[in-house]
């Protein structure tokens, strides 16, 4: 497919349904929250293939650059169903059938996923967290996944990968992509210097990472985005540099790619990133995007602020570094000058005397936006707390540190809950939350105290199967060992 002028903000879903008239892929919400529009982007990566499930409804058609777009219509081989289709039929996994193409494509990606651990129900639940079904109650869909996925892929997509690799190689290139004119364009620079130069020339352009937010500006708010710079082609911008004492995530490192690195810092971080969004959003959503977006309820900033992360911003060829929390100035306002872009975020690993906990509070555990998200790093000196870094999302107009509580916690005794009281009380000075559709201000105030207490209890040694209902650390520890 070729992007033409006037169709620069065309979504992949509209392209499929309206241009190709391929109506197997459905629109359920047009905001990336139901998964009915799930398609798979197959990309050639390092000699192999990745099968990314994505929400076509909020993916710009241009983001499919360099990928093989696989939709539900492509799976059956004549009258022979694909194994995931066959399993869904056998398990009675569809009722009204409208969500089914999206589930089929999510399972197709799972069928092709490289897995270290055997596939179990929890893993399937996570894999389909971005797909809503209102009819079945999910059990038969999960059973279909367990029956068909988790083994070695033997479908024709697997057997014909060499052919596909050649086809993708033929359209691959190192060139900058630019469709449109100086007034209206979709550009995909191929290098960091090219990005810096293009953005310098067009400071009014919108930088797009995964489009998991920008997509909604188009489908819901009808924004006229004249100039789009998509970052997905920029080589090296998605690099993850995992060294002894810190990890540096390039701005376009996807959440999915970041999970194992963050989980290695602490299992709570891995669980946070898992619950952050379903697979479709995690596959394309970027670490840099979740920061640059400046949302007060983004989940990564509070966690990374508590860890003491540093943000690298680049303009032209100049890179400056600031503490992550300093980036967030006010609601909708960040410390980013014209033509400056998020280059990377550096996250220090925990030192031996440091403990970390984070919690996400939401109406639904998976793929929901936090009412409150709390992250805690305490530095221990024996049983005493030498220092603490505490940050919350959902409590203010920006992700924000609890400086009063941090100060009050210094010197507290982990073994003496009485010594935590000053810090718990200080949280009231740190925040004046609002009431919205996710939670009331009262609830938010109650919950931040509960989370700080929980973090301290756990740090003091309480087993998490006695302190929380999800994200049990002992389970993660057992799986890791």
């Amino acid at each position: 497919m070729r992007l033409r002028d006037g169709a620069l903000t065309l979504t992949l879903l509209d392209y499929l349904r309206l241009t190709e008239r391929a109506t197997g892929t459905k629109e359920g919400c047009a905001e990336g929250d139901c998964g009915a529009c799930t398609v798979v982007l197959r990309r050639s990566v390092g000699g192999g293939f990745v099968y990314q499930p994505v929400n076509a409804c909020i993916l710009l058609a241009g983001q499919a650059d360099g990928a093989d777009v696989i939709t539900v219509e492509d799976l059956a081989d004549g009258a022979t169903l694909h194994p995931v289709q066959q399993a869904m039929v056998e398990q009675h996994g569809s009722q009204c059938g409208f969500c089914t193409p999206g589930f089929i494509m999510a399972l197709f990606a799972l069928y092709h996923a490289q897995r270290d651990a055997p596939l179990d129900r929890a893993a399937v639940n996570d894999w389909i967290a971005g797909n809503l079904c209102r009819c079945t109650g999910y059990r038969p869909i999960v059973d279909a996944a367990l029956a068909s996925c988790g083994g070695v892929a033997t479908d024709r997509f697997a057997t014909q990968e060499a052919e596909a690799a050649r086809a993708l190689a033929a359209i691959d290139g190192e060139d900058d992509v630019f469709a449109g004119s100086d007034e209206r364009f979709f550009a995909a620079p191929a290098s960091i210097p090219a990005l810096a130069a293009l953005y310098a020339k067009h400071p009014d352009a919108v930088l797009v990472g995964g489009a998991t937010d920008v997509g909604l500006w188009i489908t819901k708010q009808f924004h006229e985005l004249a100039k789009i710079i998509w970052l997905g082609r920029v080589r090296g911008l998605d690099a993850i540099d995992d060294v002894a004492d810190a990890i540096t995530f390039g701005a376009t490192a996807s959440h999915e790619a970041a999970i194992p690195h963050l989980a290695a810092i602490d299992p709570d971080l891995g669980e946070l990133m898992r619950r952050f969004a379903g697979k479709q959003i995690r596959s394309v959503g970027t670490i840099g995007g979740n920061i640059a977006n400046g949302s007060p309820i983004g989940d990564t900033p509070p966690a990374l602020i508590a860890l003491g992360a540093t943000l690298a911003l680049q303009k032209g060829d100049v890179v400056r570094r600031i503490p992550l929390e300093d980036f967030f100035l006010a609601y909708g306002k960040q410390d980013r000058t014209a033509s400056e872009f998020v280059r990377a975020v550096q996250v220090p690993k925990l030192k031996v005397d440091e403990r970390f906990r984070c919690y996400k509070i939401s109406k639904r555990f998976d793929q929901d936006i936090s009412a409150v998200m709390g992250a805690f790093k305490v530095t221990l000196a024996g049983a005493r707390i030498a220092a603490a870094r505490i940050a919350f999302g959902g409590m203010a107009a920006t992700p924000k540190r609890a400086l009063a509580a941090e100060a009050a916690l210094a010197g507290a005794d982990l073994g003496d809950a009485g010594s935590w009281q000053a810090a718990l009380a200080a949280l009231a000075d740190d925040f004046s939350p609002i009431t919205d559709q996710r939670a009331s201000a009262d609830y938010r105030r109650d919950v931040v105290r509960a989370l700080l207490r929980k973090a301290l209890m756990e740090t003091a040694g309480a087993a998490t199967h006695r302190t929380r209902v999800v994200g049990i650390r002992e389970t993660a520890d057992a799986a890791a060992s």
């Binding site: 869904m88 009675h92 059938g97 089914t100 209102r134 109650g137 009808f222 509070i361 936006i369 209902v469």
Partner: protein, 771 residues
């Protein structure tokens, strides 16, 4: 009393019926080739419509400035109330739902105009250019505000049995409480959509609707066309759950109006946010109850006032609130009861049918009252439930119908054993004694759900069956397919009748052109009604074929049988298609309609007595949960369900209905929260803010069994309706959460309201600590 069932007939072997056959569209679903309205290949020249809604919840329109809208690129036509040639109404009964609001607006998002344009995008963009000025008046948003203002949409209605006031005065124990019950968004995955195709002087409308006949009537009225000139067709819906019973009409009407005025086909598909803002939902309720009971926990009297948020118009609120009253007893015998229903008018979207149709809210109130009895007396709630079930000499409902088919005592006993309830009760208590932050809860609750439309005349259905010369069968009936598996069940019945393979039966789209004057596919009645109607049609043809074969082969008609794709006439066997072809040449009619009306039901609304239900469907569920009392987070640990579908027509389909209904009910009572602000603005109008259950919300430990027993009434193959009843099994989850919280302050009543979101749970924890 029903006649004693004929066991020989009930247990006669079947070939197609009762098999766990897959959904007829299963392969199409997984291949993406199942066609929904938005997937129909668009006719040449098709236009797209989009709608614009009121910007305040209540007020008078001062100015509707549409010049910029008309001038926008691609716009062909802008429609308002003035463009409607006939009646500006899409209501089911009361004439109070304008297709386009005129002078007064009564909810935020109420449709004022529509844009018809060359593309969907052009239509939706143009809508945003409207200049709408409304003299705003303060809206009534909540049930409490409507009660304070005495703002009613329909008169109060009361069921009375005995003297509940005297029972309350005389009883040794009393408990009074208030329970707030939230509404629910349907969140069918396929949003509202219609495609209208104009003919010579006719109109064909493809709509995602549960009620093609009502749409036909609405459109005919609006366009001043005879009903015979309007045809409404629906092959399948991408989910409905009651949300496409009346709520599909407005969009079909607007598309038809545009098609009529332009002479071009027109499609209207709502964006998800508009769909959630502009279409009705499950009613929110406030239940104020008093219950009197003896020292053994036996109920002596129950008084309940069920006040609901109906929204700005009546819609189906009359019948919905009636059904809440019919289920205010749930499974329990009430010696004396006063059940008062208040149907409150608010300046919010008009609430509508949703799986259970008021029943769930009525049930939830008495289940809370039962829990309160147990808490007051220090008993296990299950024992109080069992003590109060309908039984011998205790079988009269508050509406004058005897419960004669009650199987709950044996069902509950069976589930109590299979779920290991008593041992787990002890485990839960031990866990809670030693767990300061997390509390476990356990509850086993029953469901008794009345089957039939309570508007008795609606209990009718038609079918049309043709047999063609190659022996294939064309099946059509009045029911619509929304995923519930109705079409495959009815096809199984017809295949069974002719003794042919299921793939010989062609399932076809529901259309008012083949079967007229249909009722909505609703009230769980689809297979009860349409299964019988289709069987009648098939039997009529079969009788003609039998007579023909008897003459042809010179054997008595009793010796003719149809099975294995053959017709047996004495010692002769002839393939079914061959007999059909012979019959055609023998000038035998191979087409028939079929009709069914539910027998033996009646209802007198004046005296509030009668036999509104043909029978009851039963079920019971046991749920265990863990609650974090510091954050209010909750996890469901295990579910055990035993459910009654009579003799199942299709166990695979029925289990799907049970699981799906349960999970949907669990969503209603836990995470799904509709938040309106003080100005009547719905804040949760997208899946980003309105959270239906996802896969991880369903516990891995999920044990579902069908209760084995035939319907005592003569239903199709002695099956029972299954669409709605399982939703209410999820009350066990809500009760289990309350049970967990009760461990904090034994003896006190838990003030938990629905939905039990983390915030609602934490609020209850704080209230318990304060009390």
């Amino acid at each position: 009393m029903p006649p004693p069932p004929d066991l020989a007939e009930i247990d006669a072997p079947t070939r197609t019926v009762r098999a766990p056959t897959m959904h007829d569209s299963a392969v199409r679903h997984v291949c993406g080739t199942a066609v929904y309205v938005d997937d129909i290949r668009e006719p040449e020249g098709m236009l797209h419509a989009a709608v614009g809604g009121a910007t305040v919840a209540h007020g008078r329109i001062k100015r509707l400035g549409l010049d910029a809208v008309r001038a926008a690129p691609g716009v062909v036509l802008v429609l308002t109330a003035a463009d409607i040639p006939g009646r500006n109404d899409c209501s089911p009964v009361m004439g109070d739902d304008p297709i386009f609001a005129g002078g007064v607006v009564e909810f935020r998002g109420q449709v004022l105009f529509a844009v018809v344009a060359e593309t969907r995008d052009a239509a939706r963009r143009a809508v945003r250019l409207a200049e709408i000025e409304i003299d705003a008046e303060p809206p009534l948003v909540t049930v409490d505000q409507a009660l304070a203002a005495e703002s009613r949409i329909l008169p109060d209605y009361t069921f009375r049995k005995g003297d509940s006031a005297a029972a309350l005065a005389a009883a040794p124990n009393r408990h009074a409480g208030t329970l707030r019950i939230g509404g629910q968004e349907h969140f069918y995955l396929e949003g509202q959509v219609a495609l209208a195709v104009p003919g010579e002087d006719e109109m064909l409308v493809h709509s995602s609707t549960q009620h093609p006949s009502e749409l036909q009537h609405t459109i005919a009225r609006m366009l001043k066309l005879p009903q015979a000139a309007v045809t409404v067709e629906v092959r399948r819906m991408g989910g409905a759950f009651g949300g496409k019973e009346t709520q599909a009409g407005q969009w079909a009407a607007i598309a038809a109006l545009a098609a009529r005025l332009t002479g071009r086909p027109c499609k209207l598909r709502l964006d998800r946010d508009d769909d959630m803002i502009m279409t009705g939902k499950r009613h929110d309720f406030r239940a104020d109850y008093q219950i009197a009971f003896d020292n053994d926990g036996r109920i002596q009297g129950y008084d309940v006032c069920l006040a609901s948020r109906c929204g700005y118009s009546a819609d189906l609120s009359g019948s919905i609130n009636d059904r809440a009253m019919f289920h205010a007893d749930n499974a329990y015998y009430l010696p004396a009861a006063t059940i008062l229903s208040k149907r409150m008018k608010t300046h919010t979207v008009s609430n509508t049918a949703f799986r259970g149709f008021g029943g769930p809210q009525g049930m939830l109130a008495i289940e809370r009252a039962i829990d309160a009895i147990a808490w007051t007396l220090g008993r296990d709630p299950l024992d109080v439930r069992k003590r109060n079930l309908y039984g011998n000499g205790r079988d009269m409902t508050p509406y004058g119908m005897r419960v004669t088919d009650n199987i709950l005592p044996e069902m509950i006993d069976a589930l109590e054993r299979s779920s290991d309830y008593r041992a787990r009760r002890r485990t839960v208590a031990a866990f809670n004694a030693d767990s300061p932050l997390l509390k476990r809860g356990l509850a086993l609750t029953p469901v008794k759900f009345g089957i039939s439309f309570t508007n008795t005349f609606l209990n009718q259905a038609g079918a049309l069956v043709h047999v063609y010369q190659d022996g294939t069968v064309h099946l059509n009936h009045s029911g619509t397919e929304m995923g519930q598996g109705l079409f495959i069940k009815v096809a199984q019945v017809v295949a069974e009748e002719f003794g042919i393979d299921l793939d010989r039966v062609q399932i076809t789209a529901t259309t008012t052109g083949k079967v007229p004057n249909t009722s909505a596919t609703a009230a769980s009645s689809g297979s009860d009604l349409n299964g019988m109607a289709a069987q009648a049609a098939a039997r009529a043809i079969k009788a003609r074929l039998t007579d023909f074969a008897a003459a042809e082969f010179d054997v008595p008609a009793e010796q003719i049988s149809f099975r294995d794709n053959q017709v047996f006439a004495g010692n002769t066997a002839i393939p079914f298609p061959d007999l059909v072809h012979k019959a055609y040449r023998g000038q035998v009619s191979l087409s028939s309609t079929g009709f069914y009306r539910t027998p033996r039901i009646h209802w007198d609304a004046k005296t509030a007595t009668g036999r509104p239900f043909f029978y009851f469907a039963y079920g019971a569920a046991c749920s265990e949960v863990t609650v974090d009392i510091t954050t209010g987070e909750m996890k469901v640990e295990r579910i055990d369900i035993l459910h009654d579908v009579g003799r199942s027509l299709n166990p695979a389909i029925d289990i799907g209905q049970i699981e799906g209904g349960f999970v949907q009910g669990m969503g209603w009572l836990t995470a799904e929260e509709l938040v309106f602000d003080a100005e009547g603005r719905l804040l949760t109008h997208a899946p980003s803010t309105y959270k239906v259950p996802c896969a991880s919300d369903v516990p891995a430990d999920l044990r579902i069994a069908l209760f084995d027993g035939p319907n005592r009434e003569e239903t199709i193959y002695r099956s029972k309706a299954v669409g709605e009843p399982p939703l209410m099994l999820a009350i066990s989850v809500f009760a289990a959460i309350a049970d967990a919280l009760h461990s904090l302050s034994p003896g006190k009543s838990v003030p938990l309201n629905a939905p039990a979101t983390p915030e609602s749970i934490l609020h209850s924890v704080k209230e318990l600590a304060r009390a």
